[in-house]
Amino acid sequence: MNVEEIVKAIEPLKGEVVPVRTIQETRPPEDFADAIVAEVNVKAASKVIKVLDAAFPRDASMGHLRRFAKRTMLPDHLLQEIEADTSAPANNGQTIFVVIPPPLPDVESLQELLAPFAPVPRRRSSATPPANPPLRSPEPQPPQIRILKTQVPIYPPFTAAQGEKWTKTMWPVVFNPAAPRSTVAPPPQVLTRVQESIRPRSGFYLALARKVAEESKQTGRGRGVGAVIVDPSIEDRLENQAWRDDTDSTDRWMDAVVSVGGDVRYARSEAGASSQTDLHSGVAPNPASTIYDPDLEGGPDLHALMRAAELVARRRREEGDHLSQYDDSILPVIATDPQLSTKLSPLESHFLYEVCGQSANPEPENSVATPLSPKKRKHEEANPEIAMASLDVNLEATDSVDPLTTLPAPPPPTAAIAIPESTPVIGYVCSPPDFWGCSSPPETSRIRTRSQGGYLCTGLDIYLSHEPCLCCSMGMLLSRFRAVIFPRAGRMQGGGIASEPVVHPTPGDWNSDSVAEDEQDDEIEGREYYGLHWRKELNWRALGFEFVETDGAGEDWEVDVAEEGDGEDLAFHA
């Protein structure tokens, strides 16, 4: 069966696409700081606020803390402290407690500031005068404000339960279900849209990723791990085409694949010696895959994700005279092809070169200029989290002598994500024959060139047979992918994307306070959960999805392709 037939025969995985929650969603950050609690006259509450806000500008991020608490709302430790404190003058009970969050003022100036709002002393009945009234100085003592210390959470509560717990133990807090999301997770509407856009064809791409994985394994070049890079803008066009032709938009799923990469960790020669692949030529799978011997594992630059991204880069480097401006003698090693990007497998070669310009090209070249196909894609919605390659392709740029000066701008990380509902989108632009600057027959690539706005893997999606290792997960971010998708059955101990153990039947269950539960499971599974696809600390973020196969179909495959050894899970980096 030739490659094209293999691809056509691919049966999609069956199941559903679910978002991988962010680390901040699964482990709401808990951090606490010291705060001051002062008891004031309840009737002066609004004046107290004014005075405090003027003296100590308020930190808006502390909005989840209630400003005041009645005595009955105080947490137990404060109540006990008050009851145990006999030195403070008794008051008439008409008091309320105000919290001063950090940065903390010094207690003396706070006393001075709040002195006018001190609680009214309790009127003592004449029947029970103090036994021995102490001699008082002639000047009346300034009224003392009762000052207490507590801790407060510096982040808003993530769950109602967490809010209640903090209210009981620290200080009353407000739980707002909508508040925390924006800072710790991608906007729900963006997540939903991307999820919808990948859902129809994701089963095919993951099935292809497994074919690529199998190829790596059966050639002894690497472990059974594969990656497939897809251009969602071509998918959009497939959808539109299918809508116009009244056909099934999944029929031509393969047309949106821009690159596939297989694991080749055994195929690189070290110190001039034969590679593991060469040593065991004709033996598949490679005997090195039955164990985890780090000395035989190649390196993460030979993993599937890294190679798929490198193949996109390699294809783009071949454009024009990009490399002629560089002198390879500075870094001779780059000429040695350390990622084996010139040693393509049949599937890799097929998607990088052979399919270009045939089935992938259902529209005539000039259609991009017709009124039906607007050149510009509208940035409909601001999304600070995810940027997507601008498709404001200047077609005239193809005539330019210096493509670098006419490059359209990829958006900065604050730019909009554009997933038009109905706008036909230019997925790639076929180039005039002289574009490549050579006399060989032009190859139209699905990979957008630099002059067409292509930049790294911006706006592309990557489908993998396994959860990528931590190194590859960060490589995914540095390559600016839009989304990463892998089957849940392909989760790896050394993976970088999963954010929690598989314990929740319905991910996204917001109201379960399951932090403690999760921590227990961590120990059982013996892995770290990084959720690296979307971390607020990092200035590039992608969307992460797991594909949950129906009826646990992936388990069999997992044993067959990925886990050699004696049936036990073999830990390695995918």
Binding site: R316, M474, L538
Partner: protein
């Protein structure tokens, strides 16, 4: 740019009079070379049995591949002459704290130890953002020593970021920028400087 780095000064872990200084100066030379060639000025060397066995610099612009950081190039060069197992006895000197990707790669490659210049608060994988070198993993942890010649490393980065980035698809005008040559006194670990330096990110 491909690797927006938020550099930070930290308390040096090793003295500038040690043999480590010699190696770090070699790494700085690679960062200089990177700057001359329009790459983010990060350089590194690998030292095995008191010899430089691999050199690397950031190569993301030339390669059009955002993952081609200095560490990968140095390792690739070393592997031309040495087996992977030699990395177990090899030290890395890199001018900027390894990013999360490289920190994980170094662990998978089983580097013996890592010496770096300035910390990287945006992407750092050995303390800057995450602690990939010491987290639970199937590979053993490695020690890191930061702060060696960090001012030199930071100045290289500042010289780079003040340029107009003509490799980026849309250069940002920076005519009004002036090179900041001032350093605060070396702060304690954990305090950031230079926060106002907005770095080009694409």
């Amino acid at each position: 740019m491909d690797e927006p780095i938020a550099e930070r000064e930290i308390t040096p872990a090793v003295s500038e009079n040690s043999k480590h200084a010699y190696w770090m100066k070699e790494a700085l030379k690679m960062a200089e070379t990177a700057l001359e060639h329009g790459e983010t000025p990060v350089g590194c060397i690998l030292v095995y049995e008191d010899k430089i066995v691999g050199r690397g610099m950031n190569d993301t612009n030339r390669s059009m591949n955002g993952t081609r950081h200095a560490e990968f190039l140095a390792i690739a060069e070393m592997l031309l002459s040495y087996p992977k197992s030699a990395l177990n006895s090899t030290d890395l000197y890199v001018t900027v704290e390894p990013c999360i990707m490289c920190a994980s790669a170094l662990r998978q490659y089983r580097i013996r130890s890592v010496y770096f210049g300035c910390a990287n608060d945006r992407f750092g994988g050995t303390g800057g953002v995450l602690n990939i070198h010491s987290d639970h993993s199937i590979d053993p942890p490695y020690p890191v020593y930061g702060g060696l010649f960090q001012k030199e490393a930071i100045m290289l980065l500042r010289r780079f970021y003040i340029q107009e980035n003509d490799k980026a698809p849309k250069p940002r005008p920076k005519r009004n920028r002036e090179l900041n040559t001032a350093f605060d006194s070396v702060p304690e670990i954990g305090t950031a400087i230079n926060e106002g330096d907005e770095l080009p990110s694409s």
